[in-house]
Structures are given as structure tokens and as C-alpha cells.
């Protein structure tokens, strides 16, 4: 006889209840350790975060190894960050015990503290490490000298500069003025008062204009219209519009409205081709080009450059637009809006970074490369991760890119360029560029724009400059862009030839 009579079934059921209880416990553990693992580890009250705040943070260095952010003294066991170059603030952001983190300090917080949150899968290698944290240094592609030069040239005017290496997407400078001093935000003694000052400043110093400022582009947008026209076949380099010379004088009548070239335009009697239209910045020529291209194609080619969505970068970016999106004509209200948008007015809004990508793509033979700020990440324990250029895709054919490039060279070096983008010319170097004067509401001075790159045949730097309400492009942004390209090519670039 096996077992006491009548006991077995009771045992079985109690065993079943035990199994159910354990199954619930297992499910609870799974929930906490898989689903909730991330939020729990990110909770600021988690001692993990406390350890991270006290751990020595990795440094941030510029392209030549100049220390941009490192650790200063410790106050009450909490380390303070030291920022020696305030002009780098739009890139580095800050670490504040009171206000949290921003910029790359936020994006790369995990690597900088080295207290990696274990993913649900854990980190097998980490199990054989002794230290709880392995802080890493960020090596940027940015050159502090170019950054500081740009900030200094912008001075106390509101504006932004983006400089990028076209073939790799490495960002060389990313400037926004007015700036702020991250040091004062990092120091708990000054942080609250300083933040209040920044908040009261009508210039919004905490706004990174380079990545998040959305501006009317004016004539620099003609590069996008040109690319779309060439890609669609609607225009060629020798395309002319027969009515354009007359309209340039009297205005281009469209649906009861009149589109006019800027009064300063050089009045030529023969119909302009693409290069000449870009050189003298003819609104009417590009209005015709945009109408010939069509709204759908213009939008599609613009989206290849990145318009319509936030650009992927290690910093938060705003998306650029061609129109408000509520009109019947692919978002444009009518042909008039399309015509106006074709030369960068109407509802076109773009970030300086977006225009930098347009310049870089043209400079790079039509291939767009993902913009990056960090060259490599090197941890104390010797882990290295190097950023390699990521090709986003071909925006236009190499031939069309060359056509636009040549037009941009003519815009800087042509006969009539002096009134437009001519001031950007780097002596001894074939320079490509386009000026812009973005018309705003009546009574407001226009934004001054420049987009360009050099050397035209083997571009090593593409630059975008915008100075808010600073008048025509040629008066402010164009020479500024020229100086930056010149400084880079002749003084700062690793193989510069002074």
C-alpha cells in the first residue's frame, strides 16, 4: 500500500496552489526586472543615479584635445562641472545638480558617468569588471577655435553658425548667440539666480538657434528649388524663362498678385540661365522654376535633404518646413504660395542646421552624410567607440550637384557677385556660396543669410550663417561666412596652408 489513504488528492491540490503562487511571484519578478527595469533605473532617487552624480564624469574634448568640460572641485561629495569655453555651450549643454542636464551632457550621460544602466539583457562583460563606473571621454569633431571665432564674429547679435565637413558630416562648429555660461548653471551657488536672468533675457540664450531656430530662409532656399528642378528635369543649367526680363522690371503677375525681384537686383535685359539667376538672386526666375517643378516634386526633393522631419543628431533638433501643410496643393494654399516658397519666402521655415545639410550635400556631389558631433568615445578602461560617417543617401545626381556647385561658384566669383555673395570669397580658393535676405513682416529688418562651401572642387568646409534682422545677406552674413571658411582653410584645418 503506497501512501496514506485519501491524502494524495489533497496534496496535489495544495501543490497546485503553491505552483500558482510561485508562478505569480515569477511573473512579478519578470515584470520588475524586464518591463520596469528601465524606468526604475532612470528614477532620480535611485542610488544608481546618486552614485552617478558623485562619480567622476568623463571629459569632453574638442578635435584637438582641448578640454571643453571636466570636473572641478567637489561640494558636499557632489562634483561640479567646469566649462572653460562658454562658446561651446550649445554643444556641451551643462550638468546642474539643480536643473539636470542638457546638450551632449544629457545625450551621453550614460557614457560620461560610466554607470551604464543595464538593459534588460544586462551586460555580460561588465560582470568581470571591478569598478561600478567606467566614465568615458567624448572627443568632438568641433574645433574650439572656429567655434569661438564664429561666436566672436556674431558678437552681441542674435544668430547662428553651422560649419560641417561635407564628406563626413563631422560638425566643425555649431554656434548660437546670444549664448550662456554653463559654468554658472553648473554651480549650485549661482544656478538659480543665473537661470532667472537667462529666462528674463528676450534673446532666449538657452535656445540653440543652430539646431532649433526656425527661420525664413529667403534666397538661400533657391538651392533647394534648383536641386528639385534639376532632379525633376523641369529645368536645366541653360533653362531660361522668356518673360523673365520684362517681369523682373514690372513684376511677375500671378493669380492677381505681383512677385518682384529685390530692388537691388542687377537688371539684365537677356533671359537669365540658372547660374545667372542664382548669381543675381532672381526671385522671378526661381518662382518660374518652382512652378515648373511642381509642388509634389519640390516637397519630395526637399525631404531628401531632411525637410519635414527633425534631423537626427546627438542634440534635439527642430524640423524644417516648406509650407504650413494645410493647403490643397500638397500643403501649399495655391500656385502663388508655391511660387513664393520657391525663393524661400511664404511659409518656408528652416533651421540653420538644415541649410548646412543642403550645402554639404551639394558640396559632397549630391550625397548626404549624417551630421555628427562626436568623433570617438574613449572609456577609462580603454573601451573605444569611433564614429564612422553614415551615408543617409543620394539627394541628387552628381551631375546636378556639379551644376549647382558651379552656379554657387559663379554666385561668389561672378561679374555681379559683389552685391550678393561675393564677399564670401576666400582668396586663392574657388569658393561656392549663396546669400539670402529673408523678408519678414513689414517694419522688421530682414534676416541676413549665407550658405557656402570651399574649396569648391574638393570641399572641406560648408558653412551656414544667419544673423537675425541684420539686413541683406551681403552686408553681414556673407563676409562672416567668408572669414570663417578662410580661417578654417588657412589656419585651423589640420592640413591648413597659411
Amino acid at each position: 500500500m503506497n501512501g496514506a489513504p485519501g491524502i494524495g488528492s489533497g496534496l496535489l491540490r495544495v501543490g497546485l496552489v503553491v505552483c500558482i503562487a510561485y508562478a505569480l511571484i515569477f511573473a512579478g519578478a519578470g515584470w520588475l526586472q524586464v518591463v520596469e527595469a528601465g524606468p526604475l533605473s532612470a528614477d532620480p532617487r535611485n542610488p544608481l543615479q546618486l552614485v552617478a552624480a558623485r562619480a567622476p564624469r568623463g571629459r569632453i574634448l574638442d578635435v584637438r584635445g582641448v578640454v571643453v568640460a571636466d570636473n572641478a572641485r567637489a561640494v558636499d561629495g557632489l562634483r561640479l562641472r567646469r566649462y572653460a569655453h562658454p562658446a561651446m555651450a550649445p554643444i556641451t549643454g551643462y550638468v546642474s545638480i539643480i536643473f539636470g542636464t542638457a546638450g551632449l551632457e544629457r545625450t551621453y550621460d550614460r557614457q560620461l558617468t560610466g554607470v551604464a544602466r543595464l538593459g534588460a539583457g544586462g551586460d555580460l562583460l561588465r560582470k568581470f569588471r571591478s569598478r561600478a563606473s567606467d566614465p568615458a571621454d567624448l572627443h568632438l569633431s568641433v574645433d574650439v577655435r572656429l567655434q569661438e571665432l564664429a561666436a566672436r564674429l556674431l558678437g552681441n547679435q542674435r544668430g547662428a553658425v553651422v560649419a560641417i565637413e561635407p564628406s563626413t558630416g563631422r560638425i566643425l562648429a555649431l554656434v548660437s548667440t546670444p549664448g550662456y555660461d554653463p559654468q554658472q548653471l553648473a554651480d549650485p551657488a549661482t544656478a538659480a539666480a543665473y537661470l532667472a536672468t537667462l529666462g528674463d533675457d528676450s534673446g532666449a540664450p538657452l535656445l540653440d538657434r543652430a539646431t532649433q531656430g526656425r527661420y525664413v530662409p529667403g534666397s538661400v532656399f533657391k538651392l533647394v528649388t534648383g536641386a528639385a528642378g534639376l532632379e525633376s528635369g523641369a529645368i536645366r543649367s541653360d533653362t531660361t524663362f522668356a518673360d523673365q526680363p520684362v517681369e523682373s522690371r514690372r513684376g511677375f503677375r500671378l493669380d492677381g498678385f505681383r512677385i518682384q525681384d529685390a530692388p537691388r537686383s542687377v537688371q539684365l535685359d537677356q533671359p537669365l540661365d540658372l547660374s545667372e539667376a542664382l548669381e543675381v538672386s532672381s526671385n522671378i526666375w526661381f518662382a518660374h522654376a518652382g512652378l515648373a517643378t511642381g509642388a509634389g516634386t519640390l516637397l519630395e526633393v526637399a525631404s531628401r535633404f531632411g525637410f519635414g522631419s527633425a534631423i537626427a543628431l546627438d542634440l534635439p533638433t527642430a524640423s524644417s518646413q516648406l509650407n504650413g501643410g494645410d493647403g490643397p496643393l500638397d500643403g501649399f494654399a495655391d500656385r502663388l504660395e508655391l511660387a513664393n516658397a520657391s525663393y524661400g519666402q511664404a511659409e518656408v521655415l528652416t533651421t540653420p542646421l538644415q541649410m548646412a545639410l543642403v550645402a554639404a550635400a551639394i558640396a559632397n556631389g549630391g550625397v548626404l552624410v549624417r551630421p555628427t558631433l562626436v568623433d570617438q568615445i574613449v572609456s577609462r578602461d580603454g573601451d573605444e567607440s569611433r564614429t564612422s560617417p553614415t551615408r543617409i543617401g543620394r539627394v541628387m545626381s552628381a551631375t546636378n550637384a556639379a551644376t549647382l556647385r558651379d552656379a554657387m561658384v559663379q554666385a561668389v566669383q561672378g561679374r555681379y557677385a559683389a552685391d550678393y555673395a561675393g564677399g564670401a570669397r576666400v582668396s586663392g580658393v574657388r569658393t561656392a556660396g549663396k546669400s539670402g535676405t529673408a523678408q519678414l513682416a513689414p517694419g522688421q529688418a530682414p534676416h541676413s543669410w549665407f550658405v557656402g562651401f570651399a574649396p569648391a572642387d574638393a570641399p572641406r568646409i560648408a558653412v551656414v550663417v544667419i544673423v537675425e534682422n541684420a539686413g541683406s545677406g551681403s552686408s553681414r552674413a556673407v563676409p562672416l561666412g567668408g572669414r570663417l571658411m578662410s580661417a578654417w582653410l588657412k589656419r585651423f584645418a589640420p592640413d591648413s596652408a597659411p
Partner: protein
Amino acid sequence: MRLARPRLRMRPRTRDRELRLLTVVALAMGAGWVSLSSTRSGGLSIGDPVPVVCWLLGMLGVHVAFVISGRDLDQVLLPVVGILGGISLLFMERLPQGLVVQRFGDRTLMLGDLQLLWLLLGLGLLGVTAISVRSVRWLREYRYTWAALGIGLLAAVFLLGDEVNGARLSMHIGPFSGQPSELLKVILVVFLAAYLADNRPMLARSSMRLGIIRLPPLAYLLPMLATWGVALALVIIQKDLGAALLLFSVFLALLYIATRRGSYVVVGLVLFFVGAAVLYGVLGHVRARVDIWLDPWADPLGAGYQVIRALYAFGRGGILGTGLGAGLPTVDGVAAIPLIHTDFVFAAVGEELGLLGALAVGTCYLILAERGMRIAARAPDEFQALLAAGLTLVIVLQAALIMAANLRLVPLTGVTLPLISYGGSSILTNALVVGSLLALSDRTAVRGVPAPTVRIARSAVA
């Protein structure tokens, strides 16, 4: 007449399955030790392997003793104890040693060494119990003595106990201190098993009717009320929610096994909820426990601190864990989770061994449950069946209670994680329980022994 038959028949019996499983245990412990030492030293290292070698040699010693004794004992329980005790040893060596410090003359022992000592003592107790206990008739015969002893222990704690962490659990007698409620659980299980076995044949059929409610017959109702009373007393006098909950749930399970009457369980649960509701209203410490459970974030740096810190630990662990020694047991030299070496050791396991480690520990208790229930099912009489089931449930339900509390699935009731948490009383008691299960598993020893009758019991007393 064959009077010359030796009392102890020493015919060695090989135990291949146990040896194979112990090999696995040894490999796992070795790997754990190397992982911990390597993390500490920053390179591949075996550190000071004495503790883990001691533990493995202890296992081997008990195994050899089992072989020599020739008893047909269960071959899975010892390896399960090996792995749970081994995990305990790894974590007690790994946690801040200053959590427990005891002086013996001019020698100072700290957390890891003390736990090794307790584990080895427990292992010895387990082995001796498993080999030497050949009949449990005496346990049944002295059932009322056990009941009296249990109540006596309760009274002693009430009169002599010290209040620690808001609960009156420990007692000092001379240089020794212990937590009698650990032993109390076992004593009461023995009593309940004997009582239910005695009354089962008579009363399995009938039941009282009180209006529309079917009540268990008085013979069941009385001990049910008595157990309920003891549980309430535990909560009120000792503030020991865990022991009370455990005792009552083991009792209900045994009652169900003995009678297979779901209605009794319902009555028991009603009693439980009435008691719980009243205690929640009356006793501040019960209310506090429940409130913390419902919303620990209401007071994250005070009352909810411990529970929240445990949640963080589980979160940090993820699926694979941080690895032994790589978690965050201390922040600024203070334990990240108060009582991490006792009540919250499961959170430490969850952090450093991850979800997989936590599930492995849970599975060990489930294996223990399966073996215990199997031993119960094969027991030759009701008493032994109920005793085996009760002893199994004491470990398995207690583990479930504290694991669920660590995961914030139930309120924290402050019991140890059997065979893993630090503590002499807990380790020794649970070793005794597993030793008893092993003894009960030997069917060769008890085959043919008739169920004791009341007459035998009386003659034994007389």
C-alpha cells in the same frame, strides 16, 4: 527469535543521483566564487576559497555519511540545500561584513564567517536528523507536550524577549540569542499534523450546521480557532506578522489535505480576513505595513525607503543581473537596503544574479516542494503524510511570502528567506526541517510499523 539483529544495519547504499547533483552544485558554487573574487580583484581570481570549499566538503561529508548509513533517503533534497546554502554563503561573503559582528573572546567573527558557521552547524544537524531519526512515533505521542512547549515559547518571548526592528522576536538566554518563533513554527506543525491525523477518521464526514453556514465539526473548529488565536497572539504580542501568516496558512493547507473540505478553507479565510481587518484597524504596526505596501512612494525616504530600494535593486538587475559583487549593496558605506542580509536578501539576488538568478532560487524552493509533497504522498500513515506536507509548506510558503514581499506583491511581513537569509535560528530550524523530511523519505525504515494508537501513546507516557 532473532534478537541478535543489530540495531543499526550499516549496509552502504550508493547514491549516484545525489552525487551527480552535488557535482553540479560544486561547479555552480565554484563558478560563483570565481565570479565574485574576479569582480572584487579586477582580474581572474579565486580569492580565498576556504569558505566555499568548507561548504562543499560539508556537503560531501553528509553525502558519504548517508551512503554509509545505508538509509534510502531522498537524493534531491541535499543538493537543493547545497545550492541554496551556497548562494547564501556567496551573498553573505559578498555583502558588507560589518552588518553582523560578534566577538568570541578575542576572536571577532563577521557576517560571512558567522553564516558559514551556521550553515555548517545546520548541515550537521540535517545529517544527524536524517540518519538517526528512524521513527517519528514519539513525535505524535507527545503532541500535547509540543503544543504546551509552543505556547510556553510564546509566553517566554513575551516575558523575556527583546524588541528589535519593531518586532519582539529574539530572546537572550545567557550568551545565546535566538528567535524562538522559527522553532515555534516547526513545533506547531508537529502538533497540528498529530492532531489532524488523530481526528481525521472520526470527523471527516460530519459537519455542524449553523443556519445556512456549514461549519467544521467542533473537533476541527476548536484547533482552527486555537491556531487563529496563536496567530493573533503572535501578531499582537510579538508583532510578528510573518510567522502568524505562515502558521495560519500552513494550518489551512493541512486542514484541507486532511479533510479535502473546501468549505473549511473558506471559513479559515473568513477568519483570516476578519482578523486582518480588525488588526489593521487596531494595531498601528499592521496598518503601517499595509500602507507602505500600497504606496511606498508616499514617504520614499522614510517608511517606504526599504521597499523602494528593493525595487531599484530588482530593476538594476535586469535579466542577467549585474554579476556577483557588481551591484550596489552600499551607498556611502550604508547598506542600500536595510536588512539586506535577512529580509531583503532576495532583492540582492535579483540585483546581482538578475531575473534568471531570482527564478533559479524560486525554482529550488519549488523542487523542494515537489520532493516534500512526494514524500508526503508516499508516507505510510496520515501523521507522517501531514507532517511531511506541513514541514515542506513551512519552508515553501515562507519563501513565497518573503519573495513576494521583496517584489512588493504582498505587504512586508518580516520573515527570512529559508536557507539563504543570515541567521542561526533560521538556518538551524530549516536544516532541521529538511533533515526531518529526509528521515521521513526513508520508507525502508518505517515500513511495517503500525500506526500508533492512543493506547500505545498512553503506555509510552506511563
